[in-house]
Structure formats: structure tokens, C-alpha cells
């Protein structure tokens, strides 16, 4: 069977009758554009998060009392170190600092910079960080959101923290964290652990929690058991739980959107059904003529199927390209707030392009199957036009 002639004729008809399809293409492009934008954002956020979380420690332990986290004694570190299979144990001070005048808060993280591992992590996070000058005075690294917020309040170089004792602690803003980490570090401040201890008013031998790694995944459950044997008042947070929580969060947002979008899809199908019933009814004469000169029902169905397939593919490609530009080149104005909204400080995120074959496939199925299904019955109705129609 030679399809060459058929394709030739198909292109002819499509080009001569583009007007008929423009409406359907337009609606489809809008539908696909919205759909892919949202899914691109959610999958990009997911992969950015995973990338950022990768460098974090596998476990975080802290002491609890009455179910609430309280300060953890530094002495716990030595006990933790004794468990086999654990590496890179580090103390951490981690908490929210409230900026009273505006009721905003920052996430304050104190890191032990004399610990080799922590300082290495920090240096890989902030390329070209000069540790010597950073440590020479009381200084801190701030997330972009914090930096913007502070400079709006005229803290250009220094910021004075208020300690629980009522004294002020002046800390130099050394540098901003790279914008690639905005997703979780937007409202974050990183400083040496002693400084954080002073600002939060913790005792000399107290930290908020202790972090460590367990290189062998299979040992994870064992380690948790051992920790609970060591301390009766301990809470253990695993990195994989955090990863999963974040993943679920963005999956939810994407999924909820899809469910809401189902309504739009049903409307879309109805519009298409109407539109194509109308378009095809104007073609009755034309199809009758083709039938009269020897085209079978099958041939007409084939013609309609290919016509629709071209419309579907063209709109899909257009919609996806537009969404790609919108999300990854223009950083999705408006829509990104749905995903990032609710955060403490205004956040600006540049999305890292992530294009998965599976995601594109999902978008395609979500759109193409309803489209083709909506057109199928009008197409059949026109294909069975009796050839006698040509004589009328």
C-alpha cells in the first residue's frame, strides 16, 4: 500500500482548509500550555529539592520532653559516635528568629565550622567562600529573601539580633547564598555555631540537634533502633522522610491541579465535540463527492483520523514549547506563586529545566485521548455520509 498519495492529498486539504482547525488548535494550545506549565513547575521544584536535600545529613536527632523538642546536650554526640556505621556526626543549632517589628521570621542555622565536614559542605554550597574572612568577625550568610528583606529595612551591611537577655548582637552580612538554593534557603541564615548559641541564648554545652550520616542504607532501620536503646527521650528524623514529605507536597499540588483540571477537560471535550460536529456538517457535500468518486467509509475515517492527529500533534508541540518558555525562560510569573505561596518571605525561584519523557507522555495522554475521543463520533457521522449526497 502506498501512502504517499494519501499523505499528499491530506496535506493539500489541511493547507487549503486551515481555517477550520484554527479554533480547535487555539483551545488545545491553551489547555496544554496551562497543563504543562503547572507540571513543569512541580517536577522542576521536585528535582531542585532533591538536589538540595542530597547534601543534607541522613539523620537528625534531638531530645524531647513532653513530646516537644528541647535543647540537646552536646554530650550525646560522643554516645552517638560510638554506634558502628555512623559517620560525620555534627552538632547544629537550628531555629526560627523572629524579627519583631514586622513579625517576619528567619531560619537561623548555626554550623560548627571547625568541623571539617560541615565546612566542606558549606564551601561547596557557596562557591569561593573565604572562610578566613568569614570567621574573622561575627558574620553570617543569608538567603536571597533575607537579604532583600533586610536591605528594605536599611540593614545593608549589618544586622543586630536581639538575644533573650535583651542585649543586641551585631552581625555582619558576609554574602548572600546562591539563588539556586532559594527553594529552601530563601529565608535562611547560616552562621558559626557559637554565634547562633549566643543569639538563641543556649547553654555552653547545648545544641538544638545533632546530625549524622549512615552510608549503608540497609543499616538505617537498625541505627534507629540502637538510638532508641541509647536514649529514652530522643526523636529521630530521617532525611528520606523529609524528601518524601516534600515530594508528596509537590505531587499533591500537581495532582490537585490535575483533578481540578478534569472539569476543564470535560468542557474541552464538549466544545470539541460541538465544534467538530459543526465543522464536519459543512463538509457533507465534499465528503459526499469523495465517496461518490470511490472513497470508502474506511478511507474517509482514515483521512479524518490523520487530520485530527496533525491538529493534536501541532497543538501539543506548540503548547509544550510555550510552556517551556514561560516556565524555564521567564520563570513563570503568577503561576509560581501557587507553588511557592505561603512562604514567609517573598521568594523568587529560577526553575531549572527538567524534561522527563514520562511527564511529556502523561501530558500528551491527558490531552490527546479526550481530544481524539471527542472527535471520533462526529468523524464517524461524516464518514458514513451516503455518496448519493453528491447528487443533491
Amino acid at each position: 500500500m502506498n501512502n504517499n498519495a494519501f499523505l499528499h492529498f491530506l496535506t493539500l486539504l489541511l493547507f487549503k482548509q486551515k481555517g477550520k482547525h484554527i479554533g480547535a488548535v487555539l483551545i488545545s494550545v491553551i489547555i496544554i500550555f496551562l497543563l504543562s506549565s503547572v507540571l513543569f513547575i512541580s517536577s522542576s521544584l521536585q528535582s531542585m529539592l532533591l538536589g538540595t536535600l542530597e547534601s543534607q545529613s541522613d539523620f537528625t536527632v534531638s531530645r524531647v520532653q513532653a513530646g516537644k523538642a528541647i535543647n540537646t546536650p552536646s554530650a550525646w554526640m560522643d554516645k552517638v559516635l560510638e554506634i558502628n556505621g555512623i559517620s560525620q556526626v555534627a552538632p547544629r543549632i537550628y531555629g526560627r528568629y523572629f524579627f519583631a517589628p514586622r513579625e517576619e521570621s528567619f531560619l537561623l542555622v548555626g554550623v560548627d565550622l571547625f568541623d571539617e565536614q560541615s565546612s566542606k559542605e558549606l564551601r561547596s554550597l557557596v562557591k569561593g567562600l573565604d572562610l578566613k574572612s568569614f570567621l574573622s568577625t561575627d558574620s553570617m550568610l543569608v538567603g536571597e529573601g533575607v537579604k532583600t528583606f533586610l536591605s528594605e529595612h536599611y540593614y545593608k551591611e549589618y544586622f543586630s539580633f536581639k538575644t533573650p537577655q535583651g542585649s543586641f548582637k551585631k552581625v555582619k552580612i558576609h554574602q548572600a547564598l546562591p539563588s539556586g538554593t532559594n527553594l529552601i534557603a530563601n529565608d535562611m541564615i547560616i552562621m558559626p555555631i557559637e554565634l547562633a548559641r549566643e543569639i538563641f541564648g543556649l547553654g555552653e554545652d547545648e545544641v538544638t540537634d545533632i546530625t549524622f550520616n549512615v552510608p549503608n542504607d540497609a543499616e538505617w532501620d537498625n541505627i534507629i533502633g540502637k538510638l532508641h536503646l541509647l536514649f529514652y527521650d530522643v526523636r529521630v528524623v530521617e532525611k528520606r522522610e523529609i524528601v518524601k514529605a516534600y515530594e508528596n507536597l509537590y505531587n499533591y499540588k500537581g495532582g490537585l491541579f490535575l483533578i481540578l483540571y478534569l472539569v476543564a477537560m470535560v468542557t474541552f471535550m464538549l466544545i470539541l465535540y460541538q465544534r467538530y460536529s459543526m465543522v464536519y456538517s459543512t463538509e457533507r457535500k465534499e465528503i459526499g463527492i469523495l465517496r461518490a468518486v470511490g472513497w470508502s467509509i474506511k478511507d474517509i475515517l482514515k483521512l479524518k483520523f490523520y487530520e485530527t492527529a496533525v491538529v493534536v500533534l501541532v497543538s501539543f508541540v506548540l503548547g509544550v514549547i510555550l510552556a517551556y518558555l514561560y516556565v524555564f525562560i521567564w520563570d513563570a510569573p503568577l503561576l509560581s506563586q501557587i507553588f511557592l505561596g505561603g512562604a514567609n518571605l517573598p521568594n523568587h525561584v529560577s526553575f531549572v529545566p527538567v524534561l522527563e519523557f514520562g511527564l511529556l507522555g502523561s501530558i500528551f495522554l491527558f490531552y490527546a485521548i479526550p481530544f481524539l475521543a471527542a472527535v471520533l463520533i462526529p468523524a464517524w457521522k461524516i464518514a458514513v455520509t451516503p455518496p448519493k449526497e453528491a447528487m443533491l
Binding site: 502506498n2 494519501f6 486539504l13 487549503k16 465517496r291 470508502s296 467509509i297 478511507d299 455518496p387 447528487m391
Partner: protein, 231 residues
């Protein structure tokens, strides 16, 4: 070649608007013969043509063309029969207005399995024969009546059908173009084609190359003259 036996066609069967367009028609036509169906409009000529060309199906009776029973063919076969054996020239030309002359002429061959090059060669030859080559790439809607007629002829003959069926071919033509059309018919007759023309144009009444003239009235055949003496 063609035998029509006891064929009736009732439209809107079983409803109050039922209308019997053909009443037990019998008709025979041998290969290579030319037949004129005369009668006023509404006499059933067009309906009979549509049944012979398998554009429609009879309500009862048998139509056999070249040994094949075409009154009861499934769509795939009916279409193949139309595509292979029938060249139909319609009263209103029935061209695809959005396309050019050449594109109209290739339409019957699209599903033939031939490649586009061969199809275009066949179309060129057919347009040559119908004297419309010079307008090949012109849009159909810009053509005059006579040119449309020639385009329709080129399309009807592009696949070299054995049976040529014309429904009121000169109804929309002036006298000059009608005479030209009759010349073309004559040359087709000389090439051995079987031809059926339904018309009420008096120009067709005294043609020398016609083998049969059949008069129809109210869905019945009221008279048939065989004019075989001329051949």
C-alpha cells in the same frame, strides 16, 4: 454489461412521506453501447443512475454490472466498484471548490495504491484529453461553467472507467459548450466505453451514435427505442 431486473426504489420507506421513485424497472445495456434516458425532472432518471453507480441501494430488485451483483454490496466493495468501473459526471459538476483542477482530478486515485507520480501522470493525460490542461493549477471556483464541465470530465475519466454515467450534463451549459460535450461523448463512444446519459435536453434526441433511447415517466419506463441500425 448492465442488467437491471425488477428494481424499485422507495424513499422514506415505512413513513407517511414514502415516495416510490422507481417502480419495477427492467433494463439491459450491452458493452460499448450508449443509452440516453429521457424524461422530465422527477421521473426517476437520476435515481436509476445512482443505483447503477452504487451511490445508493435499491429497495428491491437486482442490478448486475459485468457479472457482479452491485445492488447489495458492502461499502468497501461498493466503493471499490465506483473507484474502478464508474466515471460519473454530475449535473452540478460536484467539484471540490477549495482545490485546484489538478487536485480534483487526482481525487479518485488517491486510495488506488498508486504512487503520486503515476497518479499525476494519469491526471495530466486525462486533463489533456478533456482540454483543461492549461487550467491545471487554477482554483475550481474561478472557472467558467464550460471549464468546470471539462474538469469534471477529466476527473470522471482519469481512472479509465468502463462505464460512464452522466446526470443532466448540459443543464448548466450554453449551447456551444453542450455541443462540445456531445463531441466528447462521441469520441468516448468510439473508444468503446459504455455510456448512460440522463437528460431532458432536446440536443440529445437525434444523435447518430446513440444505441438506445429510453423514456421515463413517474418511475416507469414508458418507451425504449433501439437505434442499432445506425451502427
Amino acid at each position: 454489461m448492465i442488467s437491471v431486473e425488477n428494481v424499485s426504489k422507495i424513499f422514506n420507506e415505512g413513513t407517511p412521506q414514502a415516495f416510490e421513485a422507481l417502480k419495477s424497472i427492467d433494463l439491459e445495456l450491452a458493452k460499448g453501447e450508449t443509452m440516453i434516458l429521457m424524461g422530465v425532472s422527477g421521473s426517476g432518471k437520476s435515481t436509476l443512475l445512482s443505483l447503477i453507480a452504487a451511490l445508493d441501494k435499491p429497495s428491491s430488485g437486482k442490478i448486475v454490472v459485468e457479472g457482479e451483483l452491485i445492488s447489495k454490496l458492502p461499502d468497501l466493495h461498493a466503493s471499490a466498484y465506483r473507484a474502478k468501473s464508474i466515471g460519473f459526471i454530475f449535473q452540478h459538476f460536484n467539484l471540490l471548490e477549495a482545490l485546484s483542477v489538478e487536485e480534483n482530478v487526482i481525487a479518485p486515485l488517491i486510495n488506488s495504491g498508486l504512487d503520486i507520480k503515476t497518479i499525476k501522470e494519469m491526471a495530466a493525460e486525462s486533463m489533456q484529453n478533456a482540454a483543461i490542461s492549461h487550467k491545471a493549477s487554477q482554483q475550481v471556483k474561478e472557472l467558467s461553467g464550460g471549464e468546470k464541465q471539462r474538469c469534471a470530465i477529466a476527473r470522471a475519466l482519469v481512472h479509465e472507467p468502463k462505464l460512464i454515467i452522466c446526470d443532466e450534463p448540459t443543464a448548466n451549459l450554453d449551447r456551444e459548450n453542450s455541443l462540445k460535450f456531445i463531441e466528447i461523448l462521441q469520441s468516448l463512444h468510439q473508444r468503446g466505453k459504455t455510456i448512460i446519459v440522463a437528460t431532458h435536453d432536446p440536443l440529445f434526441e437525434a444523435l447518430t451514435f446513440v444505441d438506445k433511447v429510453v423514456h421515463m415517466e413517474d418511475g416507469n419506463i414508458v418507451g425504449a427505442d433501439s437505434i442499432s441500425a445506425h451502427n
